[in-house]
C-alpha cells in the first residue's frame, strides 16, 4: 500500500533543512542521505519510546537509515535482581500488603514473581498512583503496607508526595521500598564506555521534570547529539530531525528550562541521590533515589533490615542489551528459552522492555 507518509508530519521541516544527516527527505529515502555512514545508531532511553518506535512502524520504516537501540529506559528492566528478590521476600512476609505498579507483577525473582506470590496467597495489589498505597495503609491499620517505588524522575515526585502524606497522617504501617532511579548517570556510564552511539532520543517525560540541563553533558562532554522527544511517531520524528548537531536540544513542547520546580522540590524533600545497582550495569554513583534519614521510619530497607547483597547472576543477557551492545535478537535465549510467557528477565516482561518490544513485533 502506498501512502504519503510524511506529508502531514513535518513540524521540523525548516529546521531540518540545516541538518547534515537527518533531513526528512533523507528519512523518507528520497535522494541520497548525505551521511558518512548509515545507518546511524540512535539510542532511545525510554521504554515508551521503545514501544512507540516498534508499534508505529518507525523501526521498519527507517531501517537502513536509523538503527534504533533501546537503552536503559524501562524502569522495570533496569531494576537490579537483588531489588526484585528483596521485594519478593517482603511480599511473602505475613501481614504485609504489597502495593505495586502493574508491570512489576510478572517480573521473575529468584523463585517466583509477584504474580506467583499472589497466587500463593500474598496480598499484592496493583496501584496506579503511590497515593493509593497510602489509602490502603489507612484502611488496613493492622497490616504493613509496602509500596514498591520503581521508576525514574517521573515517578519520584508522586512517591515523595505519598511519603509526605503518610507522615502527615502519622501512619505507622506505610513503608516504601525504593528502586527509584535517575536516568542521566546511566546514560553517562554508557558514554564513558566504548560505544557506537551516534545520538540519543531523551525521554520527554523525564525531561519535563528534570529540565534539559540534566542531559547537557551528552553534547558538552561527549560531543553527541541528543533531543528530548514526545511519544507519538510525529514527535519522535521531530526529535530525530534535531539530531544533526552535537547539541542537547528539546523537541517536546512540555519541557521547560529548569524542569518542573514543584516536582523537583518534592523529590528533593524526601529523597537523596545515592549509589544504586542497575540491572546489567552494576553500581552507578548518584543514580538511585533513597529516602532521606528523616524518613527512615518509612524506609522498608531499614525497617525490615534488608542487607546489601551481591548481584545474583541470571542467564538474562540484559547487561549487553540494556547498554545497546547487542539487539535482543542476538541474545541466545531470545524467543527460544525466553518469551513473554516464560521470561528470563524483566526486559521480556514489561511491554516497554527492549526484548518484549522486539518479540511482540517480530514478523
Amino acid at each position: 500500500m502506498k501512502r504519503k507518509i510524511f506529508n502531514s508530519q513535518r513540524p521540523a521541516t525548516e529546521a531540518a533543512a540545516q541538518r547534515p544527516f537527518l533531513s526528512p527527505s533523507a528519512l523518507r529515502g528520497e535522494g541520497r542521505a548525505n551521511s558518512r555512514n548509515l545507518p546511524l545508531n540512535i539510542m532511545e532511553v525510554c521504554g515508551t519510546h521503545t514501544n512507540a518506535i516498534a508499534k508505529s512502524g518507525l523501526k521498519t520504516l527507517l531501517a537502513g537509515r536509523i538503527n534504533f537501540i533501546s537503552g536503559p529506559g524501562c524502569p522495570v528492566c533496569v531494576s537490579a535482581q537483588s531489588d526484585i528478590d528483596n521485594m519478593l521476600a517482603l511480599a511473602l512476609k505475613p501481614g504485609v500488603i504489597t502495593a505495586t505498579f502493574g508491570d512489576m507483577l510478572r517480573v521473575p525473582g529468584a523463585k517466583m514473581s509477584l504474580k506467583d506470590a499472589q497466587t500463593a496467597g500474598a496480598d499484592v495489589r496493583i496501584i496506579y498512583s503511590p497515593l493509593q498505597a497510602v489509602d490502603i495503609a489507612q484502611k488496613n491499620p493492622n497490616k504493613k503496607i509496602i509500596f514498591l517505588a520503581v521508576g525514574f524522575e517521573t515517578t519520584a515526585p508522586a512517591a515523595a508526595a505519598a511519603v509526605l502524606a503518610a507522615r502527615k497522617l502519622k501512619l505507622k504501617n506505610f513503608y516504601v521500598y525504593t528502586a527509584l532511579k535517575r536516568v542521566a548517570p546511566a546514560v553517562e556510564l554508557i558514554l564513558k564506555e566504548k560505544n557506537n552511539i551516534d545520538g540519543f532520543l531523551l525521554p520527554g517525560n523525564v525531561s519535563v521534570i528534570t529540565g534539559l540541563k540534566e542531559f547537557d553533558f551528552i553534547s558538552e562532554k561527549y560531543a553527541k547529539p541528543a533531543a528530548a522527544a514526545g511519544f507519538s511517531a510525529k514527535e519522535i520524528l521531530a526529535a530525530l530531525a534535531k539530531l544533526g548537531k552535537p547539541k542537547t536540544q528539546n523537541a517536546y513542547a512540555w519541557v521547560k528550562a529548569g524542569g518542573n520546580k514543584t516536582a523537583l522540590r518534592l523529590t528533593a524533600k524526601v529523597f537523596t541521590p545515592a549509589a544504586g545497582s542497575w540491572r546489567g550495569f552494576g553500581k552507578i554513583e548518584q543514580s538511585a533515589l533513597e529516602l532521606k534519614e528523616e524518613f527512615a521510619a518509612f524506609d522498608a530497607k531499614k525497617v525490615f533490615k534488608i542487607r546489601a547483597q551481591k548481584e545474583r547472576k541470571t542467564k538474562c543477557r540484559c547487561a549487553l542489551i540494556l547498554k545497546g551492545k547487542i539487539p535482543p535478537q542476538k541474545c541466545p535465549y531470545f524467543a527460544r528459552v525466553c518469551t513473554p510467557q516464560k521470561p528470563l528477565g524483566p526486559c521480556m516482561v514489561s511491554q516497554e522492555g527492549a526484548c518484549a518490544a522486539a518479540y511482540n513485533n517480530m514478523g
Partner: protein
Amino acid sequence: MDTIKIAHGSGGRESAGLIQNIILKYFGNPLLNRLEDAALLGGTPKNIALTCDGFVADPVFFPGGNIGDLAVCGAVNDLAVRGASPKYLSVSFILEDGLPVADFKKILAAMARRCKEAGVIVACGDTKVVQRGKCDKIFIITSAVGHMLPRANIAPQNIEAGDTLIISGALGEHSLAMLNARHNLGLKSNLKTDSAPLNKITAALINTLGPDVKMMRDITRGGLSSVLNELTSRQTGFEIEETLLPVSSAAKAASELLGLDILDMANEGKFVLAVSAGKAKDALKIIKAQPYGKGAAVVGQAVKGGKVNLITKLGVKRVLRAPLGEALPRIC
C-alpha cells in the same frame, strides 16, 4: 428487607419471598411465573442454538451499566453472532450475604430492560446465597437459547481472502471504563461501557445478506487482536489499517495514558464481521441503520496467509499478536 441474607438461599419462605416479591417483579412472564423445575419451550428441536456465560464484574456497578447489563447482553450476543435468534434465557444468581436489596433490584432492572430490548424472556432461574467473602457481591450465570436464522451460514472456515472486515463501532470502551472505575483512576471522561444487545443488527444482516455474511464474532476479552488471531486459519489471515479503526477520543487518551493497546481492550457491545467484498457496502448500511451500529466502519480485509497484520498510520505493516495475560498499565 434491606440486604440479602443467607436465609434467602435456604429454599424456605424467605427464598420464596425473594422470588415472588422481587425477581418476578422484573422478569415475570407466563413461562417463568409457573416456577416449575423446567420451562417447556415448545417448538421443534431442530437448529437450536444454546450458549452459556458466567459473569463476575469488579466493580459490579460502573459507568454506563452494571453486571446485569453484561449478563443479558453477553449471552444474547453469543447467540447473535453465531447466526441465531435468541429467545429464552436461564439466569442463575449467586448472591453474597449482605448484598443490599436495592443493589440487587438495580441489577434486575438492568436485566429486565436488556431482555426487553433484545426481545428475550427469562424462562427459568435459580438463586443461591453464599457467606460473606465467598463471592464478590453477585455472580450471574446466564444461558441463552434460540433458533438458527434460516439463511445463516456462519463459520470461520467460510472466510476467504478478499472478504471485507467491518467493526460495528468504537473499540475498547468497556475495558477502559472498567479500569477507570475499578482503580479509581479519576479519568474525568465520558468513558462508559458499550454493553448492548447485538441481535437486531446481526439478524438484519443475515436476513438480508444470507451466506455473504461469512463470520461474526463479538469483540470481548482480549480485544480485536485476540478475535482476529482466533479467526485465522493456515490459509487465511487479516489485514487491518490503523487509520480506519473507530476509536473515541476519550478511549484513545485513556489507553495512551495507561500504556495499553486499544486493540487488546474489550467491548461488550461490538462485533467484527467478515462479509463478501461485493456486499460490504450493503452490510455497512444495515449496521449503521441500527442504534448500536452507528459507529460501524470498514477496517480491513481477509488476506491469504495465516497472520494478522496491522498497517500503521505510517503505512508500515506489522504483525498483530493476541495479548498475553492481564492488561497491566505501565509505570510512567
